[in-house]
Amino acid sequence: MRKIDAIIRPHLLDAVKNALQEVGITGMTITEVKGFGRQKGHTETYRGSEYKIDFIPKVKIEVVVPEEMVDHVIDAVAKTAKTGKFGDGKIFVVPIEEVIRIRTGERNEQAI
């Protein structure tokens, strides 16, 4: 099982959510976050001081999926979240040790 963290543009959340549902995701967690990458938050037409760093609001989507679905999920997010401009975001894949469904006590694959 793996967790996929995707940092994306806030206005594309709906599109990505739909794409994920089409792939067969059964649940996800969303957080509002701030961040920057190599360009320090500066857009192409930035005018200010090259040395300042700006935090840009983003949205983080977390989904836990079985191994076989990882590539499908990555594709779905990457295709939908891409605009080709700086600030499209990143996807991280992290291994998961255990999953438990609180209500029933089911574990791992059954709990996803």
């Binding site: 190599r38 500066h42 200010g48 700086f86």
Partner: protein, 943 residues
């Protein structure tokens, strides 16, 4: 083998020519990437071959020019004619890129200048395309997209933007736009009268904050070659100031207009080139933008730059010495240039020089009132005092060329500064530096000079500041060439954080602090200082204590030689000279004894007192030891060390003042024992009490005090004949640690079990006194503290530790496993000192320090569970430990153990050989497991 720019251009023409023909963006990016890779490799080869720093950075700048131009061409060609934004754009290199000074992994700063007209959308699209190309091919671009007006506004408001744009350079695009930018920058920003003063002020402020952040001293152990004092930024600051104050762009222009002398020009270029080359090497070696020379990076750089170890210096130390010299040169140049620039500005700004005086006269003539004014010439020099103290700084009232006719005048200035508790003004410092040639060999040998210098050392509390002024102006090194030899001398060992000269000056500062008495905790030292009549020999002793360093081992005898010569040359009285030589010869004696030996040992104490000889010398030695340790590193002096040192001092002092031989102390101790016995006999059967003391080892009677003797007996009683383990806790205020006493029946590996349990609870053992009664009862006293911060152990933790200690002693607690668990928790980053230091743990034996035990000294890397491993190994060999002293310094540990064999005798040679083999092995094995996965792969193999 200069860089052939044509070749690179040709290469570019080959590889990048067809880029436009293939519209596949990915393929284009790939082509650019491989071009950059090849060119970078070529640069690297030339760098390895020995090409200077500025050549390489220039080379990289040219390569980036080529790439940026092609990328712009490509983007322009892709846009249709109507929306061609490129014509309305200028692509301008700013910052280091503008100066054609790009280190291998530096950012590239580009200004995309647009015309400011409303229809800039096509310009935007052009810029976008170029930028994405540049980023995707791996260049780190810092960019801005501005109109000329916006640039001006930005340059006026933001210091960073202004300094970045002092040397802009057109890479490609509209030349008209660029010319406009340059013109407006000159008019509105750089050449405006009003702006200049403000700019210089803000440069000064920026300098201060940069130094505050990255290091004010040139001789940092880990300097940032770009930002620290003496780094590349110092030259950039000169260039920025030059642009504004003198309207000169670049070092060559400064030289051409004679704003800097030929010597300064050459110096600047040499220093900058060297530091640049060093920086390039750092970038190449690490593959990133590395400007900080960490301790573990320095040997790598030294090797790659082909430095060899020479005459006692490691390759990395030789490299750093070169760096410090160049950095110091650059730093001084920057300082003096800024002073001159400031002067130039103030001269221009004032309508009339402030020092001119004006006389006014009113007179009547033909019924009209006239006012006549004439200026009175300044009377300089004649009859006036040569110096003036303003705002805590010494100013020279005469022309330097008139005043400095002899080196004595130079020396006197420092006297003036010391008496008035003032610093030298910047101008005066420059004047001194300019007149150093007056310090001749004759002057160095003159008695007057020597006496004057010695007098300066009498100014308690004010010696360090005056010595620093001398050092900064290089006067000190000229007057005392011996000191020049240890200037910038790096000491890459466990303890020392500063170069030898810096360490020495810091030690003098520590002495001054004592004299000034500002720290309450150091009041006892101040009282000792006040007992010393003549402070000069002490100061001179401290000044010379490390003077013999830098030529391999044996710095103490060499230091003695140098001290003797120097005292003779300076005409120091024989009494004072003997003190100085004594201090230099024995400057390590007190700290070694206090920290590494049993100071209750009468033989040792007697030797020490004999060597010291007098109370005066004991006092001086104490203060020297304090100063030396304080100056080693910021946290080197701590309460524990203070305790040890004071204990030794008190014992020695009581002998010296009473004038009685050491043996007398034995009778003293006997009396203590009798008092203890008497007290106890009131509560317990006297026969038991006497039997107890009869069975205790000799050392116990020497070392324990009344309180301890009483308490220990009571603890033993509570064990009910050894069937129980009794543990006692104490937190004596003045001892700055927690005292833990364990009373039980002796068992195999008892000490190891206790040590291991303590380690597993994040407790540090500072020292251990281990007494075994003849009938097998054990009274072990440990002085402990918390592993980080060296604070006494918090009382809340005591019950848990006690519980586990008891379990461990009774065999119910798996100590080895607990230690392993603790080690796994503590993540130790890969050690940051060079390879020389942590080659292998070393074991040394001292058979003379004690009459009954052999002393084992273990030097090794500090890892958790060190004491545990050593104790376990020693007990497995059947040895008894009676005393242990543990000293840790950052990541280095020095552990002392007093041991006897199973029969209570000193160790024979077979045992010693066995220990010499087994201990390093056991420690090595421990080091491997503790480092585990946190080390980089290459280092693991090296270990």
């Amino acid at each position: 083998m200069r860089i052939n720019f044509e070749k690179s251009l040709d290469h570019a023409n080959d590889r990048l020519a067809f880029v436009g023909s293939d519209p596949d963006r990915e393929a284009q990016v790939e082509t650019f990437k491989s071009f950059l890779k090849v060119e970078a490799e070529r640069l690297r080869m030339r760098h390895r071959f020995g090409l200077g720093g500025t050549e390489i950075t220039r080379g990289r700048s040219s390569i980036v020019d080529v790439v940026v131009s092609r990328a712009c061409q490509l983007s322009a060609s892709e846009m249709s004619a109507s929306e061609d934004g490129s014509a309305e754009c200028a692509v301008v290199a700013i910052g280091g890129y503008g100066r054609q000074d790009l280190a291998p992994f530096s950012d590239v700063d580009i200004l995309f200048l647009h015309s400011g007209k409303r229809r800039t959308t096509s310009a935007k699209r052009f810029v976008e395309t170029v930028l994405y190309l540049l980023w995707d091919m791996g260049l780190t671009v810092g960019h801005s997209f501005r109109s000329v007006a916006e640039c001006i506004a930005m340059a006026r408001d933001d210091l960073h933007s202004r300094t970045a744009i002092t040397e802009p350079r057109l890479v490609t695009g509209s030349a008209d736009l660029f010319t406009r930018l340059e013109r407006e920058l000159s008019d509105a920003v750089f050449d405006r009268q009003k702006e200049r003063g403000l700019f210089l002020d803000s440069l000064h402020r920026e300098l201060e904050s940069r130094y505050a952040k990255f290091g004010k001293a040139v001789c940092l152990q880990e300097p940032n070659v770009k930002e620290s004092a003496g780094g590349l930024r110092d030259l950039h600051t000169i260039l920025w100031a030059a642009r504004s104050v003198y309207c000169c762009k670049g070092l060559d222009a400064l030289r051409a207009e004679d704003r800097i002398s030929g010597a300064e020009y050459a110096l600047a270029r040499r220093s900058y080139d060297f530091i640049s080359r060093l920086r390039n090497e750092a970038h190449f070696s690490t593959g990133r933008q590395t400007d900080l020379l960490t301790l573990d990076l320095q040997p790598v750089l030294a090797e790659n730059l082909r430095y060899e170890p020479k005459r006692g210096l490691l390759a990395s130390e030789a490299l750093m010495r070169d760096y410090y010299q160049k950095a110091q040169d650059l730093h001084h140049l920057c300082e003096s240039f800024l002073v001159r620039a400031g002067q130039a500005l103030s001269e221009r700004r004032q309508v009339a020089p402030a020092s001119k005086r004006v006389k006014a006269k009113l007179h009547f003539r033909q019924s009209n009132l006239y006012l006549s004014l004439h200026s009175v010439p300044n009377r300089r020099g004649a009859g006036k005092a040569p110096f003036e103290i303003r705002q805590g700084r010494v100013f020279l009232q005469r022309e330097p060329s008139d005043h400095f006719d002899d080196a004595m005048r130079l020396m006197e200035i420092f006297g003036v500064a010391q008496r008035s508790d003032a610093e030298l003004s910047d101008e005066l410092r420059l004047s001194v530096r300019d007149n150093l040639r007056l310090v001749t060999r004759q002057f160095r040998r003159s008695q007057d000079a020597g006496h004057l210098f010695f007098e300066l050392l009498r100014g308690r509390g004010r010696v360090a500041s005056v010595l620093r002024e001398m050092h900064q102006t290089r006067f000190l090194g000229r007057f005392l060439p011996e000191f020049a030899r240890v200037t910038f001398l790096v000491q890459h060992d466990y303890y020392h954080k500063y170069t030898v000269d810096e360490h020495t000056l810091k030690a003098i500062e520590a002495l001054d602090e004592l004299a000034l008495g500002r720290d309450e905790k150091l009041a006892p030292f101040k009282r000792v200082f006040e007992e010393i009549e003549d402070a000069a020999p002490l100061y001179l002793g401290v000044f010379l204590h490390d003077i013999g360093k830098g030529r391999g081992s044996g710095h103490v005898p060499r230091g003695v030689e140098i001290a003797e010569r120097l005292c003779e040359r300076m005409g120091v009285s024989s009494v004072a000279a003997s003190h100085v030589v004594f201090l230099v010869r024995h400057h390590l004696l007190m700290s070694h004894l206090a920290e590494r030996r049993d100071i209750t040992d009468e033989g040792l104490l007697g030797q020490f007192i004999e060597t010291v000889g007098s109370l005066d010398r004991l006092n001086m030695l104490l203060l020297l030891t304090f100063a030396d340790i304080s100056a080693v590193a910021p946290q080197a002096w701590n309460d524990w060390r203070a305790t040890l040192l004071w204990e030794l001092y008190r014992r020695a002092r009581s002998h010296l003042t009473r004038g009685k031989p050491v043996k007398w102390d034995g009778f003293q101790k006997l009396r203590v024992k009798e008092q203890a016995a008497e007290r106890l006999s009131r509560l317990y059967p006297p026969s038991e009490v006497l039997k107890h003391f009869a069975m205790m080892p000799q050392r116990y009677l020497r070392a324990a005090d009344l309180d301890q003797m009483v308490r220990h007996f009571q603890l033993v009683e509570r064990t009910r004949g050894g069937s129980e383990v009794v543990i006692d806790w104490r937190a004596p205020e003045e001892k700055h640690c927690t005292e833990l006493t364990v009373c039980s029946r002796d068992a195999l590996g008892l000490v190891a079990r206790i040590a291991g349990t303590l380690t597993a609870h994040a407790v540090n053992i500072l020292s251990a006194d281990l007494y075994t009664r003849e009938d097998g009862m054990v009274i072990d006293t440990f002085k402990i503290c918390q592993i980080d911060g060296r604070h006494p152990l918090r009382a809340e933790l005591w019950p848990k530790v006690e519980e586990n200690l008891k379990a461990a002693i009774e065999g119910r607690y798996d100590v080895a496993a607990a230690v392993e668990r603790f080690r796994a928790q503590v993540s130790y980053r890969a050690k940051r000192l060079g390879k020389r230091i942590f080659a292998k743990p070393s074991v040394r034996f001292d058979t003379n320090a004690s009459a009954i035990s052999t002393v084992i000294e273990v030097h090794s890397e500090d890892t958790p569970g060190l004491v545990y491993t050593i104790a376990r190994t020693l007990s497995q060999l059947g040895l008894n430990i009676s005393l242990a002293k543990i000293a840790t310094e950052k990541s280095y540990a020095l552990d002392i153990f007093y041991v006897t064999d199973s029969e209570g005798q000193k160790l024979d040679s077979t045992l010693m050989s066995a220990i010499a083999l087994e201990l390093p092995e056991a420690l090595g094995a421990q080091a491997d497991t503790s480092k585990g996965g946190s080390m980089r792969k290459e280092e693991k193999e090296a270990v």
